[in-house]
Symmetry: C2
Subunit: 530 residues, 2 copies
């Protein structure tokens, strides 16, 4: 509606655009006017211009390599991929019953999960704003389902607080919010914030604090219906003449701040974990399989790269069979996209500039471990009413994640029983696989005593022992970004690096996808410009 | 591990119980020791004792009536149900393409949704602690999927704030938390809360506020990576040499408190809406169909009750065909469970005590309306990256809910375009159905301009015009509970009332289920004792 002022409001403008030009134009205008935000992913890549038969050799059939292959072939390039493993996907990986996996050092594990059960050793979540991953998942018909990141009925656990007894997330969350709101209301009412909060805002802030924090009419967070409508009741309301509801007792602020359990209250508010967040139905590698169906014909599997050479004319790569060894073979192309993790590439003779070599040699990779545990029944659902979500603990297993699929099913289930980083990951990984499983069971049983009776079998992946990555992801420090990222991400002669490590979203599949798309965009410009 | 103290810790006790008696005993002990909370639903009903051929006539095949029928037949009773409609379920109802619905006043609508699309006019969510509903859903094999209640990328909208421009939930949420944390940190640092927060707690509270509110090292909530890691970036981080990320600008506290948008920040923390929360795959009536498959043979459909009589010997109910009318028929039984909403029952001649009659006559029913809108494409996903969840607005449509199923599908989609209560529901319901749809479109287009181009068809249910409920649910005030609930929930001669209105969880299916279970439990005691 017209505002009466001489300048057109943004809404008036939008309304006019909508009427005249339809909703697509309207949405474009919304973006321009700041309604929408910018994403580095701008839709399916258009590589205009004729590559005139140029060839590209891609090293690694993970997501970065596969998205590059997929888009380059569409644009008219000759493409070949060398992949170390027997399947595509890289860290986009799912382990299922019957799968065998041999880690560095020779430990072999065979997964004993039942049919339909799985563990994603690497990425396991796709946030709603990872537009690249979601774009290709949709294009390839990969079915997605919500990943429950936050579960108010899961636990926060500290072995040093509450006598080691796990606390429901909803209790700590509601009580922390309630106490914060009460304290701030008190301060506001006492005039302690008169310089920070204007008179006009004061009453509304108090209203907001009362509503948000579940305070009573006197701005106090107390036992009663208001607080129990957040934290849950001691006895839930019922039907007919069942026992009447009883409110539950809030936990004091001091106990909460001393417990440290507030540390995991905000994970669901983080940009990367906030709703909506997804997982592919059936396992993360459904995304890899989607790509592989498209470009699997371009892949030479079991190819271990042993040397990368280049000159003004092109790139020559020497490789051997990663299983049988034998005589080296050679692949050549005009250009190369290398997605081999720097942790591995630093051990491969590679002809690149000294700046690039320094980048390769100076990127540490994070230690991380995951342990998957199959149980005979879904006791977390049946006994404890936890359907998906994550329990956080200060024990070395760090967390327990409950499956976000097959809810209420009567059969077995697989928990992510440990997902640890840094020193704890090193500790886990230093043990033989069966000992890692035992440790995860020992820690988890302190939260779920049912572990002792219900355990079926387990499997573990310590990323430092994964032969084809030697670590979980590339950990840039602020200093190392300054020193090496520009070189690492530049086309070096005829070689461009790609992968999560060549991105500002390391460890995430979106980083790999965007890195792959960015590398081929710049490569393409170089090719068509001469 | 032993603590060295002479008294056994709860954990030691549990550990011992677990070792000696297994995990089921352990879980029992956990409950006893306060690890678990009490639910009024204690598992599948055991009605011990022989009812010796007693018969029960149930009025209404909604969830209360059907759960009563299911359990009573299992316990050996002769059961018959009279149902007004042509199908079972009552308010557990789903409308799909091809369904026709005639409301009070004669307006007939035919749903034009495409196959697979639906609207739940009544209940649409099942919280994780509605153990009764979830128990039977599991027993009948009803597949459940997560309902996205909170979506950080959906909107909060006020026509009176931000120039009418909808705000992403994540922006208001992150900024509200950030400002609250900053203000409280300031007050704490200035010593304004020295009486409320002990010296030992102060540093930890400050740590907690910084972490929780995304404050910087000086306890300020400012533009930067910390705040953007909650609210999202202006330009997201990318791959390779894509434009570098740019943080977004937080909104000031004053704008947020003045906007009123904080009102809907907490819905996802409410006990009834917090995660995990579910919907049946394919529509809420899958639960009704689960019951109907079990006890449908007991139901006389299209039976409109016109009189309920009782004496010392039993109950006699007169009914006519609800479609064709005609001669009254009669059903008799030893006992009666009446689930007819009091809004309807108050118009039926019923032989009950004056106390019960007063309860029946004095329960107002809430006005509520839902409008379902089918669109030609899922523009909320494709253009705005909103996958499930709810946008709240101060316009009379109150909210827009995005489907929590078929994410990323390329076809059409149905939005809940209005879900309003009270005066706004009255306003909507006073209009003819097509006008309600128009209103919902007009309001919604202020949030999603794509409405104008993409609308396909719509349908609306105003609960005050639903012939078999004449309202949405029974709204007990504190006073009316005191005056009438005891009578309403007592067995009156040979008649017991059941339904959501005979519960402390009105409007929820759990209230209906628990009410039905409670009524038959008490009825059964009376039968076997006398």
């Amino acid at each position: 509606m017209p505002t009466g002022s001489s300048s057109m409001s943004r809404r008036d403008l939008l309304s006019m655009i909508g009427t005249v030009a339809g909703s697509a134009a309207m949405y474009q205008a919304m973006t321009t006017l700041g309604f929408a935000q910018e994403s580095p992913f701008t839709g399916s890549l258009k590589l205009d211009g004729d590559p005139k038969g140029a060839s590209v050799l891609i090293l690694g059939a993970g997501l970065a390599g596969m998205v590059a292959a997929y888009e380059l072939r569409k644009a008219g390039y000759k493409v070949q991929i060398l992949e170390y493993r027997e399947v595509a996907g890289g860290r986009c990986w799912t382990i299922r019953g019957g799968d065998k996996y041999t880690e560095l050092g020779g430990f072999e594990q065979e997964c004993k999960f039942d049919e339909g059960q799985y563990l994603n050793p690497g990425p396991w979540r796709v946030p709603y704003h990872h537009h690249g991953v979601l774009h290709y998942a949709k294009e390839f018909g990969v079915e997605m389902q919500p990943f429950n990141q936050v579960n108010h009925n899961a636990y926060l656990h500290s072995s040093k607080a509450f006598d080691g007894k796990p606390q429901r997330f909803r209790h700590i969350n509601a009580d922390f919010n309630g106490h914060v709101a009460e304290l701030l209301a008190k301060s506001t009412n006492q005039g302690g914030l008169d310089q920070a909060v204007s008179t006009e805002d004061r009453e509304k802030l108090l209203d907001a604090l009362r509503g948000w924090g579940a305070l009573d009419k006197d701005y106090a967070y107390v036992k009663g219906v208001d607080s129990s409508e957040r934290r849950g009741y001691r006895v839930d309301p019922g039907g007919g003449q069942m026992p009447v509801a009883e409110p539950s007792d809030p936990i004091g602020l001091s106990e909460i701040v001393q417990s440290g359990l507030w540390r995991n209250l905000s994970t669901g508010n983080l940009y990367e974990f906030q709703t909506a967040i997804f997982q592919p139905v059936g396992g993360m590698d459904m995304i890899a399989k989607g790509f592989e169906k498209e470009i699997g014909d371009l892949v030479t599997y079991n190819a271990k790269v042993i040397e990368i050479d280049q000159d003004d004319q092109g790139v020559t790569v020497h490789y051997v069979d990663s299983v049988t060894g034998g005589e080296p073979k050679t692949a050549t192309a005009d250009w190369c996209i290398c997605t081999i993790p720097f942790s591995v590439l630093s051990q491969v003779k590679t002809k690149v500039s000294s700046e690039m070599q320094a980048a390769i040699d100076n990127l540490p990779y994070a230690a991380s471990v995951k342990v998957g545990l199959q149980f005979k029944r879904r006791f977390w659902e049946e006994d404890e009413h936890i359907y998906g979500g994550i329990t956080f603990t200060d024990l070395p297993n760090t967390l327990i994640s409950y499956p976000s699929s097959e809810f209420f099913s009567k059969g077995k289930g697989v928990l992510l029983g440990a997902y640890s980083w840094g020193a704890w990951a090193m500790q886990f990984t230093s043990l033989p696989p069966e000992e890692r499983v035992k440790k995860a069971l020992e820690y988890g049983a302190q939260i779920h005593p049912q572990y002792n009776d219900e355990f079926d079998n387990g499997i573990s992946i310590g990323w430092h022992r994964v032969p084809w990555t030697l670590g979980c992801y590339g950990t840039w420090s602020e200093d190392s970004r300054k020193a090496h990222y520009q070189a690492a991400s530049s086309i070096d002669g005829r070689i461009a690096m790609a992968g999560e490590h060549i991105s500002y979203i390391p460890a995430w599949q979106e980083g790999a996808i965007l890195s792959g798309l960015d590398a081929i965009s710049r490569l393409h410009q170089r090719v068509i410009n001469g």
